[in-house]
Amino acid sequence: MDINQAILDSLAKNNVEFVTTVPCKQLAGVIEKVENDKRFMHVPSNKEDEGMGLCAGAFMGGKRPCIIMQNTAVGVTVNTLASLTQFYNMPLPMLISYRGELGERVAIQAEMAVHTKALLAQLNIQTYHFHKPEDVTELDAILHHTFMTRKPTAILTDSNFWGGY
């Protein structure tokens, strides 16, 4: 199964048309595919809170958004998630590479990994964890749920999901 293609197809099936990204090594493949897929407007961000601002604008413009980013960004975006996305009841699927999990080779990545789920829980953000490639089949339902609830949703994707480093 081509995970990257499955992700894009689920996004398109749920009428996501606006995607912003901040790179991570693990996300290189899916970002390249988004850039080259005419179903999406891709606007790369310089920082994840900026990206969430773009997504808020896109949502109010009538286009369903998605942000693709690394889990370190959960630390960067706490205020934006609470004061923008949640305060104004806006949906935002966040496809997040979950660095610092099993198989990680860069020790410092574990420092934010241990805070990632705790921060998301503290923010009452609905959170899903993809560990095996076949977990991608749940993305369709998760996206549907995200736009139905008009809430931010974290989809954590670890190294094992992406097939190792």
Binding site: N46, E50, G53, L54, G57, G61, T80
Partner: protein, 187 residues
Amino acid sequence: MIRSEIIKNLVPVLKDQLVVCNIGLPSQELHMMGDQPSNFYMLGTMGLCSSIGLGLALTQKAKVISIDGDGSILTNLGTLPTIANNVAHNFILLIIDNGSYGSTGDQPTYTGMKTSLAKVAEACGCDNVIECQAEEAVNVMKTAIAGDKMTIIVCKCESGNIPVPVIELDGPVIRHRFMEEVKRKNA
């Protein structure tokens, strides 16, 4: 002239336009002097006014005006390259540059010292950057609204504030009435 006077002068020009307004006093001043459903008041997330405006401009047809400030642009300086490289000709970014963090007590920003936001915007690749004085704001904005090019306006003014009430509207109410206006303008 201070920011609240610029906003007061702009209210007739902004009538029925989609306006994304910066956090704190700018939103409170606009709310007090010219509330309309097509105003989106940011009650939090300093720095994201221009990003919200750009996202909105890129995804629908109507003109979008972001009223930002020097402090907020400095907070999210990465927004200028994104704006420059994702051109939306229906987007006007007005940066009211009073060289201070007005909402927090007029602490000075670097734009009142050596930093020129107009030059920063140009260096980031923005094509149509206009620096003007407070007295020129209305005419510059009228021209930008009548035109068909993305415009970045850096409007220099004095530091200072007037007393204004806080905005008591709920976030989803602000968002809902704003989105109804977006739909109406794109119908």
